[in-house]
Every structure is written in structure tokens, then in C-alpha cells.
């Protein structure tokens, strides 16, 4: 575990190169997330945001570079190893298990845990966070509304009691009011101690709750700064903030 002043690095990507077949997607991506932070990764369509998350999780393997989590180089470890050590994801489009019940979806989030009492406690805590899910425990995941599915995806990820919560476009497909609620919730989860690394296209919203942000363009990090500086950044404003 490396110390940077008083901050502890939880996640670090070092010069990551990821390919899909012959196509070079991530081109030397380096970034860092400190324990307790809420960091966002901004970028347009097909810029490599989801690929970055999948590389962190081990769904795709980088051709070169290191993924360091909690002081350990894990780029060659399978996804299960990373989840066991504290990563969880709210994937793009939520990826709810449609023909499983809400309860079973939540159980899938705790798939690698064996501490029954801890799971039970987290389950109750998450149902407290999302009362809508509590009323629908035996409904099939696929029959939930978009907003409810977002809650379920979030609840499922929290069921593993993660150190690092990865989120891929949590605002996608939600009405503005729901987006706002959702971001408040993410902020709340972060304030309660979970480090969050979030991919977003909705730069305004993301930067309003994030501590820091990175901007990725065709597989390269082109900007990295404090969130408040990015909000004022002329370049970013033109490209993404639409103001």
C-alpha cells in the first residue's frame, strides 16, 4: 500500500494497454483512486470507459501494464479473485438477472461471501436503503422498472460489501429526477466509507459529486484534475458540458 501524504492508494492503473483482437482500445492509461475518494471517468461514446472498468475487474485482460489494488498487482488474476478482495460493479445497462427474483439477484451480489451473519446484516441494511426492493423481493428482476433495476443493481453490488464500487453510467436511461436521487445515493454510499470509481457521460452531474475526475478520449487520458477545476475547464466545457 503506497502512501501519498495522508492518502492511501486503493486502485492504480499503470500504463494499461488493452486490445479487442487487433484493435488497440486503451492506449497507455494510467490513473489512481485513493481510499475514500469518489472519482469519475468522463468521455464520449466508444472512448474506452467501459473497457477501463472491465480491465480493472478482469473481464478483459490488458496486453501490458499493471492493475494495482490495495497494494497488490492483480492484472493476471481472475475476476473472482478481485471481487473477493473488495471490488464490485454496477455494470453498464445494469445487467440484472431477469429471470431471477430480486432476492436471488441480491444473493448473487454476495456470491463469494460465506459470513452468513455479515450477509444478513448487509441485506437488511440494503433493504433499508431501498424500501422499494423490500416490497418486491419475490418479483422477477426483469419485471422491475428501469429505476428499480438501477436500485437492484446498486443493492446487488453493495451486497459484497465492497471496498471499491465501480459504476458504469449509473444515470443512463433514468429520468432527470431519478438521476438526481441516484447521485445523492452514490454520494451517501461514498460518505459512509466506500470508495467509488464511476464512469459517466453526464459530466455535470458526475462532477457535482466527485472529488476528482479523469477525461478519456479514444483510449487516452487527456485531462485529470479536481472536480471543481474540471467543471470550470474550458476544453471540457466545450466538449462535454454543453455550455
Amino acid at each position: 500500500m503506497s502512501n501519498n501524504g495522508t492518502k492511501t492508494t486503493l486502485l492504480r492503473l499503470e500504463d494499461i494497454n488493452t486490445y479487442y483482437g487487433p484493435i488497440h482500445i486503451l492506449q497507455g492509461v494510467s490513473l489512481e483512486v485513493f481510499a475514500g475518494e469518489l472519482v469519475c471517468l468522463l468521455g464520449g461514446n466508444a472512448s474506452g470507459k467501459s473497457t477501463t472498468l472491465k480491465t480493472i475487474l478482469g473481464i478483459v485482460k490488458p496486453a501490458s501494464g499493471r492493475v494495482v489494488f490495495n497494494g497488490e498487482a492483480i492484472q493476471n488474476q481472475p475476476t473472482g479473485y478481485r471481487v473477493e478482495r473488495g471490488m464490485a460493479v454496477v455494470p453498464e445497462n445494469r445487467r440484472i438477472f431477469g429471470s431471477m427474483s430480486v432476492l436471488e439477484n441480491l444473493e448473487m451480489g454476495a456470491f463469494l461471501r460465506h459470513d452468513r451473519d455479515g450477509i444478513k446484516a448487509d441485506f437488511e441494511r440494503i433493504l433499508g436503503l431501498f424500501p422499494r426492493l423490500k416490497e418486491r423481493l419475490h418479483q422477477l428482476g426483469g419485471t422491475l422498472s428501469g429505476g428499480e433495476q438501477q436500485m437492484l443493481a446498486m443493492g446487488r453490488a453493495l451486497m459484497s460489501r465492497p471496498k471499491l464500487l465501480l459504476m458504469d453510467e449509473p444515470s443512463m436511461g433514468l429520468a432527470p429526477k431519478l438521476v438526481e436521487q441516484n447521485f445523492e445515493l452514490i454520494q451517501q454510499v461514498n460518505q459512509q466509507g466506500t470508495t467509488v470509481f464511476m464512469v459517466e457521460q453526464n459530466a455535470n452531474m458526475a462532477l457535482s459529486i466527485a472529488h476528482r475526475g479523469y477525461v478519456v478520449q479514444t483510449g487516452r487520458i487527456v485531462l485529470a484534475d479536481e472536480a471543481k477545476n474540471l467543471l470550470d475547464n474550458e476544453q471540457l466545457r466545450k466538449a462535454y458540458l454543453g455550455r
Partner: protein, 318 residues
Amino acid sequence: MHTQEVGKPMDIFIATLPQQIINGLTLGAVYALIALGYSMVYGVLQLLNFAHGDVYMVGAFIGYGVMMAFIPESGPLFAPVIIIILMLLVAMLGCGVLGIVIEQFAYRPLRNSPRIAPLISALGVSFFIQNAIQLTLTAQFRNYETEKLIAPAAGIDLGFARLSATRALVIVTAIVLMIVLQYLIKRTRLGKAMRAVAIDREAAAMMGVNVDRVIIFTFFIGSALAGAAGVLTGIVFTRVWHFMGFAAGLKGFTAAVLGGIGNIPGAMLGGFILGLAETFAVGFISATYKDVVAFVVLIIVLLLRPRGLLGARIPQKV
């Protein structure tokens, strides 16, 4: 209406119907067990494992070998029930392992290839197994000596029909296996992982599920059920040979499609319906139609309801 003309065949029909139903359920139990393996593998991999019928055939031969080993000239070495259980267990274990080997060598290397590649590989494995058995055991028919374990006269007279002990054994064993499978899929951690992989492989991996291991277990369980079906076939119909997997595989596949491929209760239902349909066609029309029924059912289902009886509109798999 010409009641008098149809009266006589109608009487025969009604008189033999209960017995035909029992026979149909026996055959259906076997088809259902085969269909389950087809459907489970399709559910997790979207792969039609055309070698599945040959795994069933190998199961029938393993059961035969165990039976012969425990029934020397002097008579059975153990109580019949123990020998039958051993036949089932050894065949299920052997076929389960065979299923894993097939997955490792024939399908895993092609996991990311176009879908036609594993299909061709499956046909290759099918020919390989058939020929391997023919080479080592010859093309002769072998006969299960079921009468040494279960007296042919044993059974229950239901009045309107007779349920022989062998048929009862087949139906009960198949139903017990299906209940165990249903419990495994609905209630256990492995079962939940199997369903998750079937619904969305990548999302399951994101939850930390070891997808490769789930696929291995799926092949093991599906193939073990085929092995059990092979033994049950031997016990009730006695004759086994190296080519028996072809027709049985086709019927298991048809039953799986009829129920909705990838759907577990569908496979069970499809198996029993096909078994009944085939038995009725043979019993009430002509034995020449035995193997045609499956083709007709397959074509009708594909034309009228390709997703099968219980299949979801969008394939939802397991």
C-alpha cells in the same frame, strides 16, 4: 354418426389406453433425462451438444458392464437393488467425466469461434465415440440380463393395466433424479450460478462466478443424467448397441426443443409428451412410425412455436 363402424376400434383404444400411457411414460422418462442434458448445455453455452446421444449410449454400456461384473453364472453377487444402484452410479459418474472431457477438448478451444465450429466439433465427437465403442466392443447387440435382477412377473396389477416392476423402476428413478436436479438448480449455490451464467455470462462473471467451473459442472450433470437414461433403457428394453445414441439423441433434442430449449421443466415435459406420442403412434397406428414421430413433432414445433411449450419469448434459458 357412424357409431357402429367406429365402435370397435374405439373399444380397443379405450381398453389399451392405460397400458399405452404407462409405456409412454416409461419411454418419456428416458427421453426427458436425455433432453435435460441437451437443454442445460444449451442454456449455459447456446451450444447443441450433438455428442449427447453418444454419451447416453456409453452410459448404457457402462451399466451393462457393471451388471455383468456383478452377475456371474452363479447368480447375482449382491441384492438386486444394490446392483441396480451401482449400475446407475458408475454410469452416471463415467458419463459425467466423459462429458467434462468432451467439453475440455471439443468445445472449450472453440468457445469464441463462430457457432458453426462447435457444432461440427460435436458431430466429430459423436462419430468418434460411436467408432471407438464399435472398435473396442464390436457392433454386436448386447442384452441386459434384467430378468436376473427383477423377476419379469413382478409388478402391480392396476386392474385396467399392468405396471411391471421394471417400468416402475424407470419412471420412479427418472422422477427422483429430476426432483434432485430441480432442487440443485433452484436451491443451491451452484444452481444459482448456473442460472446466472445462462442468463448473462459476463454479468455472472462480474459477480465473481467462475464461469468455466460452472460450465464444467453443467456438462457433468447433464452427461450423468444421460448415463442414467442409458442404464434405464438397458434395464427396460434390454438391447444396447453402439449406434443407439443416434436416434435417442435426436429424440432428446426434439423433446428439449418441444419444451423450449434451455428450459429445465420444459425438457421434462417435452420428454414425457414425446414418449407418449411415440408410444401412441406405435400402439394405435403402426410400428413403422416409431422414429418418424420425433421428426414430425420437431417440424411442427419449429413451424408453429419455435420457442417451445415453456420457452420464453426472448430465450431466457435455464
